[in-house]
C-alpha cells in the first residue's frame, strides 16, 4: 500500500500540472497563430489523472494513452519543448513531426504511445503486462482511455483476457462525461461506463475523483501494488472534465453552462493548491512553483519556435527497423 503523498511530492505534482496546463495553453495560442497544424485535443482539466498516476508509478512501468495524451506524455517525462516542437512540425519534435498531437510518444520514459483509434490500445497495455510477466520483471502497464472507449469491442476483449491471465495491467478510464459531442450517458447502458463493467470480467473497480491528484495517486498506487503482487488487473474510473471542446474546432456548445461552471470550480490545480495549503505549505511557495512552471513553458515555446522545420526527407525513414522504406526491388 503506497502512502499518501507528502507536501514536497504534492508541490512537485502541482508544478507538473501547471507546466502541462501552460504548455497546452501555449499550443492553443500557437495554433491560433497558425504555427500548429492539423488537430489538437487538449487535456486541460485532466491533468490530475496523468500526474497523479505518474507519481504512483515507477519509471520502468508502461503507459498507453489516447489522442488526448499531452498530459500523459509530459507527466511521464516528455519535455514541453519536444511536445510543442512536434505540434509545430519541427525536426526536434518528440516523434520527428511524423506523429503529431494525437500520437505523442516517449518510449524512453515508458510512455509507449498515444493512440487515435478509440480503444485500440487496451489490448496493447495487456500485452505489455504479459511481456513483463514473461520477462520476469514486476513492471505494470497502464491504459488510459476515455468513457467512450468502454463501448467498443477491444475494451471487452482486453479486460476479459487480462483478467483470465491475471496480468499486471491497470485500466484507467478518464470519464469526462462526453465522447466528441455526445454525452456518454446517452449511449451507455450503465451509469459508470468502466466501473460498472468490471464485474463482468471479475475485476475490482473504483470510481474516483479524477481532479484530485492525491486521490488518483493513492488509487493508482493501490492498484499497482495489487498488480505487482500478482493479483491481476484493476479498473479505475476517474471522474473529470475537459475545460475546452473535444478538439480545436469544437466550441462545446452542447455542454450546459452550469455543468461547465461547476467543473471549472473543481480545477485540479486549485484542488491541489488547497491541499498544499492544508498541509501548511506557504502561499508564496505555491506561487513560486507556478512561476517556475510559467518559465519552463515560456522557455519551451522559445526553444520550439527556434527549432528547424522537419526535413521533408524524413517522410521516407522509419517505416522499417532498418530505418528505410523500401518495399520492392
Amino acid at each position: 500500500m503506497t502512502a499518501s503523498m507528502d507536501a514536497a511530492e504534492l508541490l512537485r505534482c502541482y508544478e507538473q500540472m501547471a507546466i502541462i496546463r501552460g504548455t497546452e495553453k501555449a499550443a492553443h495560442d500557437l495554433f491560433l497563430a497558425g504555427l500548429v497544424k492539423g488537430t489538437t485535443h487538449l487535456a486541460a482539466g485532466h491533468e490530475a489523472v496523468a500526474v497523479g498516476a505518474s507519481s504512483a508509478l515507477r519509471p520502468d512501468d508502461y503507459v498507453f494513452a489516447t489522442y488526448r495524451g499531452h498530459h500523459h506524455a509530459m507527466a511521464r517525462g516528455a519535455t514541453p519543448a519536444e511536445c510543442l516542437a512536434e505540434l509545430m512540425s519541427k525536426a526536434t519534435g518528440v516523434c520527428k513531426a511524423k506523429g503529431g498531437s494525437m500520437h505523442l510518444t516517449k518510449a524512453s520514459a515508458g510512455m509507449l504511445g498515444s493512440y487515435a483509434i478509440v480503444g485500440a490500445h487496451l489490448p496493447l497495455a495487456a500485452g505489455a503486462a504479459w511481456s513483463a510477466r514473461l520477462r520476469g520483471t514486476d513492471q505494470v502497464a497502464v491504459a488510459f482511455f476515455g468513457d467512450g472507449a468502454t463501448n467498443i469491442g477491444a475494451f471487452h476483449e482486453a479486460l476479459n483476457l487480462a483478467s483470465v491471465w491475471s496480468l499486471p495491467v491497470l485500466f484507467i478510464c478518464e470519464n469526462n462525461l462526453y465522447m466528441e459531442y455526445t454525452p456518454i450517458g446517452s449511449v451507455t447502458a450503465v451509469e459508470h461506463p468502466a466501473a460498472d463493467r468490471a464485474a463482468g470480467y471479475r475485476l475490482p473497480s473504483e470510481v474516483i475523483d479524477g481532479n484530485d491528484v492525491v486521490i488518483v495517486a493513492d488509487a493508482v498506487g493501490r492498484a499497482a501494488d495489487r498488480a505487482r503482487a500478482g493479483d491481476g488487473p484493476t479498473v479505475l474510473e476517474a471522474q473529470t472534465y475537459r475545460h475546452f471542446g473535444h478538439s480545436r474546432t469544437d466550441p462545446a456548445a452542447y455542454r450546459p453552462a452550469e455543468e461547465v461552471a461547476q467543473w471549472l470550480a473543481r480545477d485540479p490545480l486549485d484542488v491541489a493548491a488547497g491541499r498544499l495549503t492544508e498541509l501548511g505549505v506557504a502561499e508564496d511557495e505555491i506561487t513560486v512553483a507556478a512561476e517556475r512552471a510559467a518559465k519552463t513553458v515560456a522557455d519551451a515555446v522559445t526553444e520550439a519556435r527556434a527549432a528547424d522545420a522537419a526535413d521533408p526527407a524524413q517522410a521516407f525513414t522509419d517505416v522499417w527497423a532498418d530505418g528505410g522504406h523500401q518495399w520492392r526491388t
Binding site: K98, G100, I117, I152, M179, A310, P312
Partner: protein, 326 residues
C-alpha cells in the same frame, strides 16, 4: 449560372432528398444527430427527420455497421456513417465477410440494401490513423459497390443511386473536398453507379482519376495545355462497378495512360486498372502505363512531409511529361 453548394452541404442535401423520398431510409452513426456530424455533413437531418431516423450511436463501429446490415435485410434502407475511413478497419469483418457475401451465400434469398458513408483521404495533417485513402480496401471485396465522388453534384447524384441500390454501397467522401464548391444539382438528380465521367477531352494522353485526384489531374492538364498538350481526364466516380469501357476507349484514342490515385502504390486501385489496360488495351499503348500513387509509407503528420507522400499537381505534371516525351 446555377447556385453553388459545397461538397459538405451536398452530402446533407443528398441524404435529405432520399429521406424525404423514402421513409425506409434511416441514418445512424457517431455524433450525426444533434452535432450534425463531425464534418457537418448531416446538419439539419435530425431537425427534419427526428431521432428515430437520425440516430447517434456509441463508439461501436461493429454494432453500427452490423445493425445496419440486419436492418437492411429486413426492410429498412440504412445509411451508416463511419466517421473516418481508417475506422472501417474496426468493422472490417462486416465489410469483408458479412455484407458482401450474404446474398451469394444464401443463393439469393437475402438482399442487403445499405450505404456506408465515410470520410476518406489525406492532405489535412491528421496523421497516420486519420488520413488514409482506403477505397482500395473495399474495391478488393467482391460484393461491395464502391463510390467516391469528386464534385458536389456527383455527391448528390451518386448518393441517390447508392441509397436506391439494392446492393451494398461503400460511399467515400473525401475530407479534402468538403470545402470545395460546385453547381447545385437539379431536383431528382441521379447519377447511375458505374459510369465514369470524361471531365476533360483531349487526344494526347488519358489521365484516370478519382475523388481528390480529379482536381489534381485537371490542374495538371491545364498546366500542360499551355505547352499545347491536350489531355483527357476521366473521373471514374466508382471503383465497383468499374467503367473500363470508357477508359479503354479513351486509351485507344490517346495511346497513353496515367493513373492518379491517393492509395499507396502497393495494392492501390490503379493496379487493377493498369493490369486491365496492359492486357485488353495492350495494342493501343505507345508508352508505358504509369501510376502516380501515394508513397508506400504511413501518412506523416507534418504537412511538408505529407506532401512528399500523396499525389500533387507537380507529380502529375511530371508523370504526364514523362509519358508524352516517351
Amino acid at each position: 449560372m446555377a447556385d453553388l453548394i459545397t461538397y459538405r452541404e451536398a452530402v446533407a442535401e443528398g441524404l435529405s432528398r432520399e429521406m424525404r423520398r423514402d421513409p425506409a431510409v434511416v441514418c445512424l452513426g457517431e455524433d450525426i444527430g444533434a452535432a450534425g456530424g463531425v464534418f457537418k455533413t448531416t446538419v439539419g437531418l435530425l431537425a427534419e427527420f427526428g431521432p428515430d431516423r437520425v440516430r447517434d450511436t456509441p463508439i461501436s463501429e461493429q454494432a453500427i455497421v452490423g445493425m445496419a446490415m440486419g436492418a437492411a435485410m429486413t426492410g429498412i434502407r440504412p445509411v451508416a456513417e463511419i466517421m473516418f475511413s481508417d475506422f472501417l478497419a474496426c468493422c472490417w469483418d462486416y465489410l469483408a465477410n458479412e455484407i458482401p457475401k450474404m446474398r451469394y451465400m444464401t443463393g439469393g434469398q437475402v438482399t442487403v440494401p445499405l450505404v456506408i458513408r465515410t470520410a476518406n483521404g489525406g492532405g489535412l495533417g491528421f496523421g497516420a490513423q486519420h488520413s488514409q485513402a482506403t477505397e482500395n480496401w473495399a474495391a478488393a471485396v467482391p460484393g461491395l459497390k464502391v463510390v467516391a465522388p469528386a464534385t458536389p453534384a456527383d455527391v448528390v447524384g451518386l448518393l441517390a443511386a447508392a441509397v436506391r441500390s439494392d446492393d451494398p454501397v461503400v460511399f467515400f467522401e473525401h475530407k479534402g473536398l468538403f470545402a470545395s464548391r460546385g453547381e447545385a444539382p437539379p431536383a431528382g438528380h441521379v447519377v447511375p453507379l458505374g459510369q465514369a465521367a470524361t471531365v476533360r477531352s483531349g487526344a494526347d494522353i488519358t489521365v484516370v482519376a478519382l475523388a481528390s485526384t480529379v482536381p489534381l489531374a485537371l490542374a495538371a492538364a491545364d498546366e500542360l495545355a499551355g505547352s499545347g498538350v491536350q489531355a483527357e481526364v476521366i473521373d471514374l466516380r466508382c471503383l465497383i462497378p468499374l467503367d473500363m469501357a470508357t477508359v479503354l476507349a479513351s486509351v485507344r484514342r490517346t495511346s497513353r495512360l496515367l493513373i492518379v490515385e491517393e492509395n499507396p502504390y502497393q495494392g492501390g486501385w490503379g493496379g487493377t486498372v493498369a493490369s486491365i489496360v496492359a492486357d485488353e488495351g495492350f495494342e493501343f499503348l505507345d508508352a508505358p502505363v504509369r501510376r502516380v500513387a501515394a508513397a508506400c509509407v504511413p501518412l506523416p503528420f507534418a504537412d511538408a512531409l505529407e506532401d512528399e507522400v500523396i499525389p500533387t499537381v507537380a507529380k502529375v505534371v511530371a508523370a504526364m511529361r514523362s509519358l508524352l516525351d516517351y
